[in-house]
């Protein structure tokens, strides 16, 4: 009997708590939008990066972040007036990047974000800060040397990515397309032999190939199937931030900080990067 009363009371309390929180949600409308990180002078700045791409944006076991995108983002944030400890990195997955900017979840995004017309309609791009190319990662002893070699072979990429579709449509119509949620899975398939090639930007592939467990097993085919101009995404219409970021990127190149970041992050991967692109100079 006692237990029943207690549970009934608990249920009532929960319902009350529920309605209370529901109301509470409505009350705080006043400070809406302030959490996106106000322009310089604020305490923190939120920056969108990838967490799962070695060499570009990777979460380390000690909780810090490493990679070229991270270094660029840190430099840019510093130019905007934020020290390293004021930066809060947020994971922005590919599908969520436009939405994250639109909602002001992050101030800017440096996450292998290549500039194209469709995206430029939704967000503004600073940069580009790196020119990468779509490429294939194959086994070290693979005989795939050109795009048409992929006919009849299995090509792996991430669900919804356009790079694999492009290969299938334009280069190797008989290639088989395998898709996973992340590149790690594709590369595991490449290692086991179920997949013949993994395709995406060469900068990303190089990072994976240089990981300790994979060292020496894979090589880049070096095909330059496309030009990927990595830009820094900001909210559409936020020209003030856009200009500051562009200035910061220019300074980063002229101060040679760009070179250092490239050497630090792509050096171990033996990735031959293109020279620093000029701001606004988008290679089609």
């Amino acid at each position: 009997m006692k237990l029943r009363k207690v549970s009934a009371a608990a249920a009532t309390a929960l319902v009350l708590a529920l309605t209370a929180t529901a109301c509470g949600g409505d009350n705080g409308d006043g400070d809406s939008g302030s959490d996106g990180g106000s322009t310089s002078g604020g305490d923190k700045i939120k920056v969108g990066i990838k967490y799962d791409q070695p060499g570009l944006g990777l979460k380390e076991p000690d909780g810090t972040f490493s990679g070229f995108d991270v270094d660029v983002a840190t430099y840019v944030a510093k130019e905007l007036g934020y020290e390293a400890d004021q930066i809060e990195f947020v994971e922005t997955k590919s599908a969520d990047r436009e939405n994250a900017l639109e909602r002001e979840d992050v101030k800017f995004i440096a996450a292998t974000y290549s500039i194209n017309d469709e995206r430029a309609k939704l967000v503004d791009f600073a940069g580009p800060y790196l020119l990468a190319h779509q490429d294939l990662l194959v086994k070290a002893d693979s005989d795939i040397t050109k795009g048409t070699d992929l006919n009849g072979k299995t090509l792996c990429s991430v669900t919804g990515s356009t790079s694999a579709e492009n290969v299938k449509k334009e280069i190797a119509p008989d290639a088989q397309l395998k898709e996973y949620g992340g590149y790690s899975e594709c590369i595991a398939g490449l290692q086991s032999g179920a997949v013949d090639a993994v395709t995406t930007d060469d900068s990303i592939l190089a990072g994976f190939a240089s990981q300790e467990n994979y060292k020496g097993q894979f090589k880049l085919a070096g095909l330059k199937l496309s030009n990927e101009n990595y830009g820094i995404g900001v909210k559409k219409g936020d020209t003030a931030t856009l200009d500051k970021i562009n200035a910061a990127l220019e300074k980063m190149v002229s101060e040679k900080a760009w070179e250092t970041a490239v050497k630090d992050n792509f050096g171990p991967a033996n990735y031959k990067n293109e020279p620093a692109p000029k701001i606004g100079d988008i290679v089609k």
Partner: protein, 224 residues
């Protein structure tokens, strides 16, 4: 407002939902068979089979479906190099995901059936044994037919859940409804509209199923 829909031809909206329907139907049939087998194991006279049935249900039911589906591809396809008799990777992913759905849903079918077996009055089984039927005969001829009729309601729920669960197949690149939806959301930035279209699609698929099977379960209920 809906102009963008016509830009998608691989798959089209209806084509993607057709894959969803196929996934659901094949997985439903497979899991019904496997689930019945598992339920038979869980009430069988051989202790080890009972143990296996119990362990299977409790392990499989407790793993997120995403993990199971990704594993069919990462494990069965990539490690064991099991092509599932398909020479096309897309077809292989389709079959692998069905295998995953069958393995997962069978655990739920088994549990629903087992409780259905519990609803059959003890006297039925006793009478069957009294006239000399063996275990498999008792189960096949007397208990299971009655059990099935009494669990149409719960099985309908499993079927509805399965229909919605097929969205997980997008994780290994099966081009069903959720796969198309993710692509659209990434490209169109109209999350709410696109979400509403697909939500409507699933309501169209699941509501009639639920209503029909609800009606059927009332019609077929064993009158006692």
């Amino acid at each position: 407002m809906f102009d963008f829909l016509s830009e998608y031809d691989d798959p089209t909206l209806l084509g993607a939902f057709w894959v969803t329907i196929q996934l659901t139907l094949f997985s439903a049939l497979g899991s019904l068979v496997l689930g019945t087998l598992l339920a038979a194991m869980r009430v069988s006279p051989v202790p080890l089979m009972r143990g296996f049935g119990t362990v299977y249900v409790n392990v499989v039911r407790n793993i997120p479906l995403t993990v199971i589906i990704v594993f069919t591809s990462l494990g069965l396809a990539d490690i064991f190099l099991w092509t599932m008799g398909a020479d096309d990777v897309k077809l292989q992913a389709f079959r692998l995901s069905i295998l995953g759905f069958v393995a997962y849903t069978a655990a739920f079918v088994c549990e629903a059936l087992r409780s259905g077996i519990n609803t059959v009055p003890v006297g039925q089984a006793e009478a069957a044994r009294a006239i000399g039927l063996s275990f498999s005969q008792v189960l096949r001829l007397i208990v299971l037919p009655q059990a099935f009729r009494s669990v149409i309601g719960p099985l309908a729920n499993v079927l509805i859940a399965l229909t919605k669960n097929t969205t997980v197949a997008a994780a290994i690149g099966v081009t069903e409804a959720a796969y198309l939806m993710k692509g659209m959301i990434e490209k169109e930035a109209q999350t709410l509209l696109i979400g509403a279209i697909f939500a409507f699609g699933f309501v169209v698929l699941t509501l009639p199923t639920g209503l029909f099977l609800g009606w059927l379960s009332k019609r077929l209920a064993v009158k006692r």
